[in-house]
Symmetry: C2
């Protein structure tokens, strides 16, 4: 059993902990949490041990919430740490992981140089096998890599242009953010899939929650039919082609879809591609794809644990992760 510690228990950390706890080949050592609040209470109720940063244990004890040890204890007790601390704090913790010779998985908010490999399981799992430090690219970049990897293999890609409309903007307005293209997603895709070569990503932010929306244009090397593209995407375990008969087109529909199917924490781990949006004109492919920002990188974190411990091949790991999390089951 791989002993896994989760350092940080926010949006991503809580979901990584859930997923680790469910995996047949992993055991959750515990999670780190700085504040003794409703989230800490929920973690204890899910049966997770809490490790507190130095000077924070008293806060928990005052509220009768049990603390299993310090963050350093968490690192010592773990074979692998998944670092899900707020953006920029991961790189500050790398010396701690190094000191204990503990491999670590970082998130996309950290700079690429935090790790030797940026990672999306479908695209470059094998490159990360046995590496000490791996970085999971952001949820949007993960979604793009899952889409581009099979398109590259099946049809080739000459050029791609993506407009990413991201939730969590401020004020009731639309922002071009960053106003100067590209957004970080293009360069991050090239970290994982350098053979794409020609990619432009233009980012916006809008005041919504949970789901991003990508407007995708891919200039393919060949000119497949729409049905051929749909078939390739439907064969991808981490892409869900939402049947046109379901009449979905929004983040609202996807929230209801996840809730109706009883998905824990409203998780939708797969890229959501709207079937009716798939349009091909000559070698130009267009589609709309939605990304659940809270859960889309969770399976990648799990696969990265197996990659750094070199305990499974890509297909073995993805299959185990998928089956355990119910990916592709609706």
């Amino acid at each position: 059993m791989i002993q896994v510690g989760v350092n940080g228990y926010g949006t991503i950390g809580k979901r990584v902990a859930d997923a680790v706890a469910e995996m047949p080949d992993m055991a959750l050592v515990g999670i780190s949490k700085a504040s003794a609040n409703h989230t800490a209470d929920a973690a204890l109720k899910r049966g997770y041990d809490i490790y507190a940063p130095d000077g924070r244990a008293e806060q928990f004890e005052a509220k009768d919430m049990a603390v299993a040890g310090s963050v350093e204890d968490l690192v010592v007790n773990s074979d692998v740490v998944v670092d899900t601390l707020p953006e920029g704090m991961g790189i500050e913790h790398r010396p701690l992981y190094e000191r204990h010779d503990t491999p670590a998985i970082f998130q996309g908010g950290e700079p690429a140089e935090v790790a030797s490999e940026s990672f999306t399981a479908r695209a470059n799992y094998e490159d990360a096998r046995g590496e000490e430090y791996v970085r999971i690219v952001s949820c949007n970049t993960t979604g793009l890599n899952r889409l581009f990897a099979p398109l590259l293999e099946e049809f080739g890609i000459d050029r791609t242009v993506v407009t990413l409309v991201r939730c969590r903007g401020e004020h009731a307005v639309i922002s071009a953010d960053p106003v100067k293209p590209p957004s970080h997603h293009g360069p991050d895709v090239l970290e994982v899939l350098p053979e794409i070569e020609n990619i432009q990503t233009m980012g916006m932010k809008v005041p919504t929650v949970r789901h991003h929306m990508h407007s995708i244009n891919v200039e393919l090397e060949s000119a497949p039919s729409e049905a051929a593209v749909r078939e390739v995407l439907e064969n991808e375990s981490r892409i869900h082609v939402a049947d046109g008969d379901l009449e979905m087109n929004s983040g609202w529909d996807l929230q209801e879809f996840a809730l109706d199917r009883g998905r824990d924490r409203m998780n939708l781990y797969e890229n959501q591609v709207f079937e009716d949006s798939i349009a091909v004109e000559d070698n130009q492919l267009y589609l709309f794809m939605s990304i659940h920002r809270e859960s889309d990188v969770i399976p990648e974190n799990i696969d990265a644990i197996r990659a750094v411990t070199d305990t499974a091949s890509r297909d073995e790991s993805m299959t185990m992760t998928n089956e355990t999390l119910g990916i592709g089951e609706y």
Copy 2:
């Protein structure tokens, strides 16, 4: 003086009335209004005569709001009617305009067949001269035509892909709307600029107000520098290239910008192109452009009045409209 009636007094109608009232060669006969409310009171305070649909006059009289006549009276008293009724009601009113031989300007919510010409002044003013019925394309399409016309002339266009993120969505989510590309904007651009030939428009809706945001990619026939593109756009009277030094990138910035400069009703008649967003890679142009949905079509309505009455050339009309409305003055 051209006698102009404005049938409808909503978002567009009130701004067309303001603009007509200011034009040196036009007189505002009045506006039509169905409800005796705060907007009607404001119209009277701006000195506009109100014409009421049949059966509505009593409502106004009961509140001591003066009524000048019926909607039919408004049509009879006008040389030209600008129809700004809610979507789909314009085409129902066309028989009334025909009966009195009164030329009419319709808005983009009406089907293209309501008029012999779809219209954007910069692109096809001359085609509309002397026509009885002209349709102003929607605010987003107007913005696209203003951008594409000079790019076509200066650099040629091979293909263009636009993602339009539109305000006024519902719920706190992002919708792909319509989920099946293209949105109506692509076909509408081709009504005005058929020489574009290859255009894809992908529409989304988000829960914001006032300003839309376009992510634009134009494949040019030539490969100009970014400076050359900026210069062409800066020479367009109805495009405002927002200086990068101003550090604007959102609808919020644009609202404050209009208010700080004392623009009536927060009007920004010009396409707002963010200077820092202009990027050229080989023959691929990328930029972000924002459209103030409430005012961007107003100058086109004014120019269309001169076109249908054949009282000015394109350049004469655009110049008079621009100077009167303060377009390009910041």
